[in-house]
Point group: C3
């Protein structure tokens, strides 16, 4: 069971084209995406209402999607507008239409009640397409329920184990944190005041010439987005009060879309606001982020496989689970409101 | 659920041999085929009555099939005739026997009540082995229920879409047709009087020197055979009344055998009565037929996959479905009589 | 349903290491094996009690197994001894511990009530590691229930059919045998007195210079071990009374562990007490045994596949099944006592 009244990422902007349909299974439903001639993205049920062929096997003809079997044409609203060989359209000839919005280099699709599809509810990922930021990106097919990945992203205690070969040198979990339950998610904040700058940030800034105030925050937004806000600023320059002008920042961005109950589409980006034109650095960060997130993808796939065999009964919790468990409570409340509200 | 009292194609004549058993799953049942020393085909349950090993893993010994595990031997009636190491045959030691007949280069097997297995009920495919005709052939494994393929073969409206890259230039669906419900199937007839001959036919005839009367007929026979009768004759020479002596003909022949509820064996042939010795033409037609039918096989596999996920509810019909829907009614009547008769 | 109160082979001694965990599914349960620093083998549930990750994805740290996700550490009893980032262990934080014993080059695991895990119940396979014997070995993944393999190993009547290309020249099934039901299995004995020695044995002995007394015995021990005792001695030297000093012997050894209801781990060895240092002979016998047993593995996989499709109803028995059926009765009694005892 999924939260339906929510925006989910269907794909990257450059995956959804005006000259070729694009198929994606979301929340167990086949969805086909394409663009109107003016570039507006369209999301329809990927199943012709005539003989059920995936419409993604067809082609785009003008502002319509034409089925590859008998040539039925569907407009951007999902209504059949043309049946070859006859002048009338059979009653009820339409496929489901999903609201779709392009924002922050992603195509977002609303899988629930279209009346409620308010673009203002799209989670903030503006670092993906805002001047002053640059972001290597990638996609994984995750063989696990998305909540296992949300748990993982809200939990720093796994870093030194899963990521021992990549980023796992710091015992981040030992840094004191504040965990806050929000109406639509969870916020975790960590401050490391007056400490030596990490080399990446020190280089990026051009040398702080001394200690910095560092932060590591993460933010979960139901159902399945997590953003990391990581950075540092020259000590005492007001970063904790919101003035980051004397610092540098990274945003590690994670958008997840359920495919089935046991698989997900995992879209990530690794944005920074410094050395924007340094392509070597971009390549290095892209490679590092890919390697790190892939470690999670492998472990979570094995976790899902294990749970498929043995269930979840008898599992115990540890202290580091607190943010994830809080996230699950917010998620459960939203799901209950979604289903029964 | 399948119509059991019917002849189904188990394989090509040259697939069923006297020196090696041949396995084929038909109507969800494992069947083993072989030949008696005199060439008579035999079809038995492909499961030893002792320890269930497929008999197709064994070998043929004289006029018997010997199991590959303990050497039990079965005669052409399916009775165990020999158990190595003992002089008696255990009571009930036999496997199911299916009536089998070789006709028109195919081995036909009757999957129902053997008492009703009348060879006269075998659908007419005489163009496969009658002098004056030559026919390239092929086999596909279709990942779909056979009725989807029957629908497809009774419907010309898909041609310009599925087959846009092969034969789909004509809008055949726009040619007026007559559709007739028969006791055992459906007949569709199309006439295009007094029109220019298609190049293939014009060349074949040695030049008509003018217009022709063309025909495109198809005939469905329950449960799962479809034949196309396509050709043309010099205009006004009586083709519409049955005199095709001044013309040339093609028969596109389709025999389908259900493997499971979602897969089928698809046997095809593309027969002609002209330029019989032209091997280049045979190769060209074989390649073209294969390419065209494979387009259907791909689309129908995707149709089945879609229906597996989403079911058939909510589908609408179009005008071009009329022959197929008529075929489904004849099929449903036969199935009801088969099950309850 | 499996007999749980029994020792099962988890793997070869050299598969279970002190520096890397080893995963094996036994009786449908994921098991992880490793060794204490002193070499003692340990078998635990292969599922972390925190988030269900297989512990076999982790690493060994001192005398503990550390989970690869959050670093929880488990001692050899399966108790969680350490949770990184916190000083207390959550109540109930443990995984199932299975008694494990190393014997005869195999690691044996008791899958039932640990109170009943008496090492004296481990089946005798001392020929694997006793001076005076040498044994090539191997492992197969068998895609069948282990009882089908036990049936096969207790039955000589299949030899001339399955093994016609390897060892199947003799009609061993025609040699008179005695079959004895034992408390924990079945014993089959065959004597061929005063007959020419088989070449392998004659060469091995250095020439008997005349006839020999031959024996071919097999012994099934519930749930899933079978040993063959094959050999010959100079005629009239007392072999039948237990004096084999004037003869040579082979032990064909078979230990089977259920993986699932339809798959098994099949461990074999082919021991001899002659020409111990002849590596060419070892290679020859290893190759021959592998080829022969693989023939069974293929057939039994097809048997299981057939039974998955069609069930076991309607199967008949033959005389050669007697030892196997007796074995199944002993097995059924043990299973009933195991479940209800």
């Amino acid at each position: 069971m999924f939260i339906r009244n929510a925006w989910y990422i269907a794909g990257w902007s450059d995956e959804v084209l005006a000259d070729r349909p694009f198929a994606r299974v979301m929340l167990n439903e086949p969805v086909v995406l394409w663009r109107q001639p003016d570039g507006t993205p369209v999301a329809l049920e990927d199943r012709c209402c005539h003989r059920a062929l995936p419409l993604s096997m067809g082609k785009i003809v003008g502002d319509r999607l034409q089925c590859g079997y008998h040539g039925l044409e569907f407009d951007a609203a999902g209504n059949c507008a043309q049946v070859p060989g006859q002048s009338t359209i059979p009653p009820g000839a339409s496929v489901r239409h999903y609201p779709a919005v392009e924002r922050h280099r992603w195509i977002w699709v609303w899988m629930g009640d279209a009346e409620m599809a308010d673009p203002a509810l799209i989670p903030d990922f503006h670092w993906l397409d805002t001047p002053g930021w640059v972001a290597p990106t990638g996609t994984f097919h995750l063989k696990a329920h998305y909540q296992y990945l949300v748990d993982n992203l809200l939990d720093f205690s796994h870093v030194q184990f899963i990521h021992r070969n990549t980023i796992g040198t710091d015992a981040i979990a030992d840094i004191p944190s504040t965990v806050e339950k929000l109406e639509d998610g969870v916020a975790v904040q960590r401050w490391i005041p007056d400490s030596p700058p990490p080399p990446l940030f020190d280089n990026a800034y051009g040398g702080f010439g001394g200690n910095v105030d560092r932060w590591m925050n993460n933010r979960y937004t139901v159902p399945s987005s997590v953003t990391f806000d990581i950075g540092c600023a020259a000590v005492g320059t007001g970063a904790a009060d919101g003035d980051r002008s004397q610092g540098v920042e990274i945003r590690s961005l994670h958008g997840i879309t359920p495919e089935t109950e046991t698989s997900s589409h995992y879209f990530w980006a690794y944005a920074r606001n410094f050395r924007l034109d340094d392509e070597d650095l971009s390549a290095l960060l892209a490679k590092g982020a890919h390697a790190t997130f892939e470690e999670d993808v492998i472990v979570l796939g094995e976790q899902q496989r294990s749970i498929n065999q043995t269930g979840e009964s008898g599992l115990v919790d540890i202290n580091g689970d607190a943010p994830g468990m809080l996230g699950r409570r917010v998620h459960a409340d939203r799901l209950a409101a979604d289903v029964f509200g």
